[in-house]
């Protein structure tokens, strides 16, 4: 088949996964929670008194215990989460940090909002009349790029490092960049993912004022219900997902089987509106078709889609239209945001990890909290229990404010 060897050169293996999400810390805790379909949303004491006072936090995340107080205090939480996930991913891949060529290891991490808790606290100090008490660490703690810099420092790697900022598609964009670095010979190993921790009061209020958030204060655990007829918005979440990627032949040569292969990436822009998706789903359709063409995969080969599925009225309808247009109703579609809420810039990476785990286990996790499916949604949404079926090819989609669309195509390892 023409182009197949070139395509094989572009195939990369997901050889390690690190997850620090509302579903838990570590791959096993995450997969257990995701396949059970139990939501992580709960009333959030830090949001007391706000119109939306619930969120999905990482349970039991103790940065001092995981990173040491000496390191933890000078990092905003979005960086702390990413470093822990990156360490997990590298350990999981079985790579030896003492012997790898650190100049050939890259870092690319998606982030959107940076250190909002740091910025909010320091702005309070400044506007409270004490500019001479503003921290000298505010800027390095808050800048979005610092997560890639700090992960590189923590792992002591010296290849390129980069932060992708395509809002809620940032994590998926990072994996696309990582694949290109590997395919282009820029790196031999890429530590790629996404992170976000922006559940600070003023930032959350901004999201709330947009009408993007679910208002189900009386029942937070049931608030994130992607594709449900009565969905009313997303639940803000924090988390990080980091994957180790290597060219498939390199991974095979060192005996690493990996979780799955990343075989295709596609991206597009709606060029339509700041925050609303193009209602026809034209942009996400283009991203999907580009990713399939890149992978050399036909739409009817796709068994499973981990959808962006945020639980907002607009996203889920738009996305379902695009999925139906491209795939019909064949693939088993799920949105794991019913469990995790919306981890924003982390979502694309976290969900690529869940997609890889679904392929490995032959299990499509359920979309939580869906009692009645939106009748306008024609795709096969998995609800209730996880569905066990052989999976060979799967797709993960991401859509971001700004009209950024991204799709990843994965195959079983």
């Amino acid at each position: 088949m023409p182009g197949s060897s070139a395509r094989a050169e572009r195939t990369v293996t997901i050889s390690g996964i690190g997850l620090v999400t509302p579903a838990g810390i570590g791959v096993e805790a995450n997969w257990e929670r995701i396949r059970s379909g139990v939501s992580a949303a709960a009333t959030d004491p830090e949001l007391a008194g706000l119109a939306v006072d619930f969120s999905c936090r990482v349970p039991g995340f103790d940065a001092n215990a995981l990173l040491g107080r000496r390191t933890a205090w000078r990092l905003d939480r979005f960086v702390q989460l990413a470093i822990v996930a990156a360490r997990q991913a590298v350990a999981d891949a079985g790579l030896d940090r003492e012997t790898w060529d650190s100049t050939r290891v890259g870092v690319v991490i998606g982030n959107s909002l940076g250190g909002t808790a740091t910025v909010e606290a320091q702005h309070r100090t400044y506007y409270g009349g004490a500019p001479d008490e503003v921290s000298a660490l505010m800027i390095p703690m808050a800048m979005v790029n610092m997560v890639a810099g700090y992960v590189a420092m923590d792992l002591r790697v010296h290849g390129p490092s980069l932060v992708t900022a395509t809002a809620c598609a940032s994590g998926a964009s990072a994996l696309g960049v990582a694949r290109d670095w590997l395919a282009g010979g820029v790196c031999d190993i890429v530590v790629a993912g996404g992170t976000e921790s922006a559940i600070s009061p003023a930032t959350l209020t901004g999201l709330s004022r947009m009408g993007a958030l679910s208002a189900r204060r009386d029942d937070p655990a049931a608030a994130s219900r992607p594709f449900a007829a009565d969905r009313d918005g997303f639940v803000a979440a924090e988390g990080a997902g980091v994957l180790v990627l290597e060219r498939a032949r390199d991974a095979a040569a060192r005996g690493a089987r990996g979780y799955a292969h990343l075989v295709g990436f596609g991206a597009s822009s709606d060029a339509h509106h700041a925050t609303a998706p193009d209602p026809d789903g034209t942009g996400v359709t283009r991203a999907l078709r580009t990713a399939l063409a890149d992978a050399g995969v036909a739409p009817d080969e796709v068994d499973h889609v981990n959808a962006h599925g945020t639980s907002t009225p607009m996203n889920d309808l738009t996305e379902a239209r695009a999925l139906h247009r491209v795939f019909g109703s064949r693939p088993a579609v799920t949105s794991t945001k019913g469990v995790t809420g919306h981890t924003l810039a982390a979502a694309g990476a976290v969900e690529a990890a869940y997609t890889a785990l679904a392929l490995r286990h032959g299990v499509v996790p359920p979309t939580a909290n869906v009692r009645t499916l939106d009748p306008e949604i024609a795709v096969d949404v998995v609800t209730g229990e996880a569905r066990t079926k052989p999976l060979r090819v799967a797709v993960s989609t991401s859509l971001g404010f700004g009209g950024h669309n991204a799709a990843l195509v994965l195959t079983a390892a």
Binding site: N64, R70, W73, R74, D132, S135, A136, L137
Partner: protein, 84 residues
């Protein structure tokens, strides 16, 4: 109010470095430089702010240096106090 002795001041500084920056007492007392303790120029700005708030000592930029050991920092704070 009597001002603390240098012994008290050293203990106070060690406690602050532990509490705020997570630095173990034995490491601070080992004779390591601030640089070796990851106290860089940005953290020195934080430390000056903390010392102003907690000890009422107004250190200028340059009064503390990342080449200092704990005893140098104690001496710098004492010198500043003597000027008040």
């Amino acid at each position: 109010m009597t001002s603390p002795t240098s012994f008290d001041l050293k203990a106070r500084l060690v406690a602050i470095l532990g509490e705020k920056f997570g630095l173990p007492e034995d490491e601070v007392l080992s004779g390591a430089t601030f640089d070796e303790l990851d106290i860089d120029s940005l953290v020195l700005v934080e430390l000056s702010l903390i010392l102003r708030k907690e000890l009422g000592v107004d250190l200028a930029e340059g009064d503390l240096d990342s080449s200092f050991r704990i005893d140098d920092a104690v001496a710098a704070v004492e010198a500043k106090r003597a000027m008040v």
